[in-house]
């Protein structure tokens, strides 16, 4: 089942490698975080495709959902940290 998805998964792996350049070389921390977010989004798609390759999409789709939530929470937490660096100041930076 789904042999043609193997080719798409291989191409997607090459696409995922490209943003690593920005993660390693980004001039600021924000560029690195943006690269990590982009890698996370594309990995989501790769997990879905691997589920179709193995023919067990019912299991992999739950992993995908959990991965999406973790990616989003991490992004928001780091952004929140830069907007309000001190936790004791009741919201004022």
């Amino acid at each position: 089942m789904g042999r043609e998805f193997v080719y798409v998964a291989v191409i997607l792996t090459i696409i995922i490698i490209i943003p690593f350049y920005r993660v390693v070389k980004g001039p600021t921390l924000f560029d690195r975080l943006l690269g990590v977010g982009a890698i996370g989004t594309k990995t989501l798609v790769l997990i879905c495709l691997v589920g179709f390759v193995y023919g067990r999409i019912d299991m992999f789709i739950d992993i995908t959902l959990a991965y999406a939530v973790l990616n989003f929470i991490g992004n928001i937490a780091i952004a929140k940290y830069f907007i309000h660096p001190r936790a004791d100041s009741e919201g004022s930076p």
């Binding site: 798409v8 920005r22 001039p27 594309k42 798609v45 959902l65 830069f82």
Partner: protein
């Protein structure tokens, strides 16, 4: 091959193309804010197309509904995350790069300012140690 399968493969291929556009945008665009643009829009469209193609391939059952659930969640949260990161960068003091400037001019200024700030703090600490 039945036509539904061909349609799903075409949609998945289009999605992979948009994911490639997002990746190239992340390394090619000249500025942090421009890169935010690439990752929030191109990546979201590519992910929408790939997951929609997989849902077409699967047919209508619980798994395709779950795939559409993931699609809706990511479409809602991916631009929000990119916007939060851009807002954090703006509050931190990262300036956009304007036309006619070299690549990452604002980022170079920010890196220099942070390095100068750190040196000042170290000097102050040394003075305090000498005073005590």
């Amino acid at each position: 091959m039945d036509p539904l399968r061909i349609i799903s493969m075409l949609v998945v291929a289009a999605g992979a193309f948009f994911l490639l556009v997002g990746s190239v945008g992340i390394i090619r665009l000249p500025d942090f804010y421009a890169r935010t643009h690439a990752t929030s829009k191109s990546d979201t469209l590519g992910l929408m197309l790939v997951l929609a193609g997989l849902a077409i391939y699967e047919g209508f059952d619980l798994n395709s509904v779950k795939l559409l659930l993931v699609l809706v969640f990511v479409v809602l949260t991916n631009p929000v995350g990119a916007h939060a990161l851009a807002l954090a960068a703006q509050k931190f003091g990262l300036r956009p790069t304007f036309a006619g400037e070299p690549r990452d001019a604002g980022a170079a200024e920010l890196v220099d300012a942070v390095a100068a700030n750190q040196e000042e703090e170290e000097e102050e600490e040394e003075e305090e140690e000498e005073g005590s």
